[in-house]
Symmetry: C2
Subunit: 550 residues, 2 copies
Amino acid sequence: MGWEEIAADKKQRIEKSIPVEWRVDVAALCPNDSFMDLPAKSGLLSPDELAITDSSAVDLVAKLASGQLKSVDVTLAFCKRAALAHQAVNCALEFFPELALAQAKELDDYYQKHKAPVGPLHGLPISLKDQLRVKGLETSMGYVAWLGKYAKEDSVLTALLRKAGAVFYVKTSVPQSLMVCETVNNVIGRTLNPRNKNWSCGGSSGGEGAIVAFRGGVIGVGTDIGGSIRVPSAFNFLYGIRPSHGRMPYAKMVNSMEGQETVHSVVGPLAHSVDDLKLFVTSVLKQEPWEYDSKVIPLPWRQGEEDIVKSKLQSGGGGLTLGFYNCDGNVLPHPPILRGVETVVSTLKDNGHTIVPWQPYKHDFAVNLIGKIYAGDGGQDIFSVLRESGEPAIPNIQDLVDPSLPRLDMNEIWELQRQKWAYQCEYLEQWRLREAELGREIDAFIAPMTATAAIRHNQFRYYGYASAINLLDWTSVVVPVTFADKAVDKKQTDFKPLTEIDGVVQAEYDPEAYHGAPVAVQIVGKRLTEEKTLAIAKEIGRLLGNEVTP
Amino acid sequence: MGWEEIAADKKQRIEKSIPVEWRVDVAALCPNDSFMDLPAKSGLLSPDELAITDSSAVDLVAKLASGQLKSVDVTLAFCKRAALAHQAVNCALEFFPELALAQAKELDDYYQKHKAPVGPLHGLPISLKDQLRVKGLETSMGYVAWLGKYAKEDSVLTALLRKAGAVFYVKTSVPQSLMVCETVNNVIGRTLNPRNKNWSCGGSSGGEGAIVAFRGGVIGVGTDIGGSIRVPSAFNFLYGIRPSHGRMPYAKMVNSMEGQETVHSVVGPLAHSVDDLKLFVTSVLKQEPWEYDSKVIPLPWRQGEEDIVKSKLQSGGGGLTLGFYNCDGNVLPHPPILRGVETVVSTLKDNGHTIVPWQPYKHDFAVNLIGKIYAGDGGQDIFSVLRESGEPAIPNIQDLVDPSLPRLDMNEIWELQRQKWAYQCEYLEQWRLREAELGREIDAFIAPMTATAAIRHNQFRYYGYASAINLLDWTSVVVPVTFADKAVDKKQTDFKPLTEIDGVVQAEYDPEAYHGAPVAVQIVGKRLTEEKTLAIAKEIGRLLGNEVTP
């Protein structure tokens, strides 16, 4: 079979995995660009099922743990809504409602018998990026060559989520190679943004961004080596965390450039609230992932770190000190993003917090350095997988992995690693100097997540807002802020490009095309500050009115 | 100048750094093989100075902090004894008593004024391996090419120790390249073992091992990528800790193969007691090294982890569960080491602890894999430094870095890194399986530190007992046990070599030559278990009678 047939067969198998009675006429129901009304319009979900899928994960696990909800009902509701999601935005690479319902049934039986949940995620459906192995299922990662290979065991994270009580029902699409911030591959094609089919859902965890935005999932699991959790979060008005390397278990996942350790890809959740992100992180940490994955640091959830932020907030008069920048010196964000940063800054100031300018330190150097690392093998790893099946490369690959760059030898990669470490230490020094200047601790900084609001397809060019943070391995939490508005977000006047790519990015801005597109910022803390950075993100979300706090 | 002249000039400069009145006729005072009596015989140190240098670091900092001792007196005592050490065993690459006394004077003045110490190491002299930069001094690391370069700033660890109140007075010798477990270079030649000039002091932190054994230093700072802290500890009857990567700051130190991150070299102390090791580790952690070195994990000293061990010990009936092995499956240790392991096992059993056999998991694979990593650049890094000056390679280099192995490209190193991670995770699984079998937690395991007691020069061949632990990045603490004894440690009868190197190592055993040589074991805990593993090592040392406990 040629690669086209193998891909077509897989596409068909995914379509067939949706029960006939769950299939709908999307074009008829959603004649315009948005699919957000589809769940309500379709009539497929009962009012209870709509309510369940509109709930937070925190609420759902509480009700599952108290017996108010059955996992089978919750799982069925999310399976139905995920089926709609796939029909609308083409987001699934694996869909397995029968297995999910069987797993849910087992959990309900357990609850019936023991009158207690198996773990902190008892009965909660969680969607997985198609890098996580689920025993018995394929993990193609969008590569034709990897179809037909069925996992003999779970990834460590899958196994620990399972132990915590999570139910699996869908694995979502990614761009070929993962090294792209849009989601398109030769197996199922492109995944769309549920808010507007002309917009990208982001990438590489784009399937997760799309399905969670559509509430076909409540918590999604993504990975991030250059923005791949955070860009889909930003483009889908979601919260998302890029934990520092070593906090969450990545072992036994499928990956591009496996074994590459110069800049680690990390795994983390996307969700509708910081509380749901925290639920995920704490539930995984309770399973002691460091006993299973040697790269995980034995660092349980440090409630004390979260409490430091809480007590600052309770001290009155704001209490947080945050830096901010709206331009990294390489690429000026589009007007909606500049307004997003300004909104966050002014909201925080209005609430008494201390917000100070933050000078991005040599981000041009950082973005350039990480680019060399991504392309360290001259794309050998990626292109060898493509050769196996004969499928072509998707067009965007060379934006992040430029195959014309030379393959590095050991001494060259050591030199890059030396430069990386020196840069990280220099940036820590900048942080200390800034604090000394101010005479107070800077808790985190606010930065654009991307140069643009949710972008039109094939337009994503500049990874630097995300990737500089990957090079630093700092903790970053995406906070959704607002939506692009053609009435206020006018084109820049007297714009002078800082760099060539700056000109390309800015030229693409069109107030009409972006109207309504999600706008986000990222809150960046130092390495391994997940507790603190989440707590700050929660407060910002609360002040913006975008975080529901019980 | 040719390399010989540059080296000779440096050697002379070191000799000149010893005040004339501190020079002694070593050959006359120590006509036999040992130099351990030299301090007493020399008459250079007063009884008070002998007492000071025979003290523990814990005692000294307590007396310095209470004003009972002055740093100038303590520093002078250690400078004198270090001067004797260098004359006897040739251990210093930098010796700077004037700077040290000036620093001590400043600390005394500070104390005088504030009636309080500057930090937890106030006034304590600490010796440094010649990888740590001290502002204004050379850091040649035994390379001729690196002589004449004077540090513009301290290494991070130097700066933090300085902040904690430590005084610097000597930087000690290393083998050319560091990648050897003996200590010889073309600048000053060979460093000897103070117990017997025919024995190696170990390496690469061999200068530290020698000077601390001689009590020319109370705490030494070494580094370890394949045994370089632990082998000198073992060969000099010292305690030493190889912390896991990310616990202690390595930034801005000089190194071989700088930027190599596949297996990280780590930095840690050598001392006469676990309490002194702990003093060092806690003092550094109090300076928050993660604010200065991006590779350090923000993990303060976790007293709770130490207390878990303490409460097990207080629970009666022993309380610890430890695995042990006396052979890694590659090379059978010499009889003194087998007896050392047996001594530890029987002592622990006699005290009610649960000691179970531990199956080394694929150590042949581990040792082979780490060997490929060490030689990943085909020795390019090392040989390019040698070419700069024209100095020849020392003979032992190819034992650890085989330049005939090919230089790896990116995809090959990624594959090795993938294998490393998989191996680490598999070993964690073995640990869990063994615990499941036993129905209880295994706290750590006991293993030989080396295949031999302190070895004769040019005989160190097998790095596997150390390097397998480096590949795992597990915490390891060396505990001195006993001394080789020709009366009991007879040659193996019916010995059949497991491997070619096993035959070579065993053939070298000679009860007469090894008589009196230090014998040690290592206590190995999982990654980042410094608190717990130190506490276990302390108990073992106490039971053996080799740890003085206040």
